[in-house]
Symmetry: C2
Subunit: 205 residues, 2 copies
DNA sequence: AAAAATTAATTAAACGTTTGTTTAATTCAA
DNA sequence: TTGAATTAAACAAACGTTTAATTAATTTTT
């Protein structure tokens, strides 16, 4: 991909995350990327196709990690859960702007096709975790829990923290200028919380 | 409030929840509310002021419930948590469209003032729950947990389920036409899951 | 109680901007 | 010299909003 195309995509991630798809104009986008307005349509065809191209490019961050953990035979089931939690936390925190866009797109009913595409990207992850938990329950190493909702709890907790900087800072007693998402201590704290919850919930006594 | 004003506000909730603020046009809104386009500005002054008026009106659903539970002396700490969870689940499920709008607004940086107003509405709830948990920890009835993140887990889990009907149905093995949010069994299931998690996490053995 | 005067509600049309997109000309690179 | 890249300008459509005229409702006066 050429420099300009990349510039446009990266500016799109920034602006769509902050202002949403409808709230971002091509002119604003072009200004941020320091290209002529016509370049967006020249390279991508339309605003919507730019959006789709951005998703297709950045969504690569999603695959692989969980499958590798699940099939690692040196790990116990709960160790796998721990690693999956760390994986999710790191991934969502580092890709939080793109993740926000995905979040917005799932919430709105504007572009049905793209929504379906996003579900198809995200669902395999959830399914893999669910399958792991269900097999651990069958083996007897986990309690009988609602495996589908466990994923909702893990992702939901991370999402809720990533949702609003303002809310997050208020909840954790930081001043408004603080950026909690780049604070390694805070990232660790979220991971530790989720692991402790899951240990207490999944493991038998 | 007059019939027409109410019609407009209710149509606004529907459309903003589905398409976002920027994605909803006054003309579409007026058509849905079956009023003339000029009526929106006549009654509310502007699109943004309509939005603010809607938030001010519908946000009343938020207050009171938690404080009442917290100060009820006939309940144990864990019973209070159970009731708070049920309260959140019922409230967010029944007001899910408005809740989506709040969610969107917190996520975007378009209307700073309104964002601050929403934080000021939501934060007292979180603080009350945090205070309850911290005092229970001090008393020795709860384990030493990260109280600020407990709220993130409760609200985050509910939010994640409410986020996308498509994703939700896929995760729970229902066909696309199913509306999980109006299924009492599903609502109970989410509440039960959260209560079980919190029992395992908060209570000592 | 009827008529007149006043205010509120409602409308279709127009306003000026901004939107995403395209064109046609020009510059650049191979 | 050909094709790709880049530009400023223009395009039609949609946007939020306002206007000016009309109808409906309310209040005041007779």
């Amino acid at each position: 991909m050429t420099d300009k195309k990349e510039h446009i995509v990266n500016s799109a991630v920034e602006l769509f995350a902050e202002k949403g798809f409808e709230g971002t104009s091509i002119r604003e986008l072009a200004a941020k990327a320091e290209v002529n307005v016509a370049m967006v349509n020249y390279y991508f065809g339309s605003k919507e196709k730019l959006f789709e191209a951005m998703v297709a490019q950045k969504a690569a961050y999603s695959r692989g990690m969980i499958d590798e953990i699940v099939k690692d035979k040196t790990l116990s089931d709960i160790e796998k859960i721990d690693r999956i939690i760390d994986g999710f936390v790191n991934r969502l925190f580092t890709n939080r702007k793109f993740h926000r866009i995905i979040h917005q797109e799932l919430m709105l009913s504007q572009r049905e096709n793209l929504q379906q595409a996003i579900v198809d990207i995200l669902y395999p992850n959830s399914l893999a975790v669910k399958t792991l938990i269900d097999s651990a329950i069958k083996k007897g190493s986990f309690k009988k829990v609602d495996s589908a909702l466990v994923i909702a709890t893990v992702i939901g907790t991370i999402n809720h923290v990533l949702l609003s900087k303002k809310m997050c800072n208020k909840l954790f007693g930081k001043e408004d200028s603080h950026v909690p998402y780049e604070d390694p201590k805070f990232i660790k704290r979220v991971g530790d919380h989720l692991k402790e919850i899951m240990h207490a919930y999944l493991l038998k006594n």
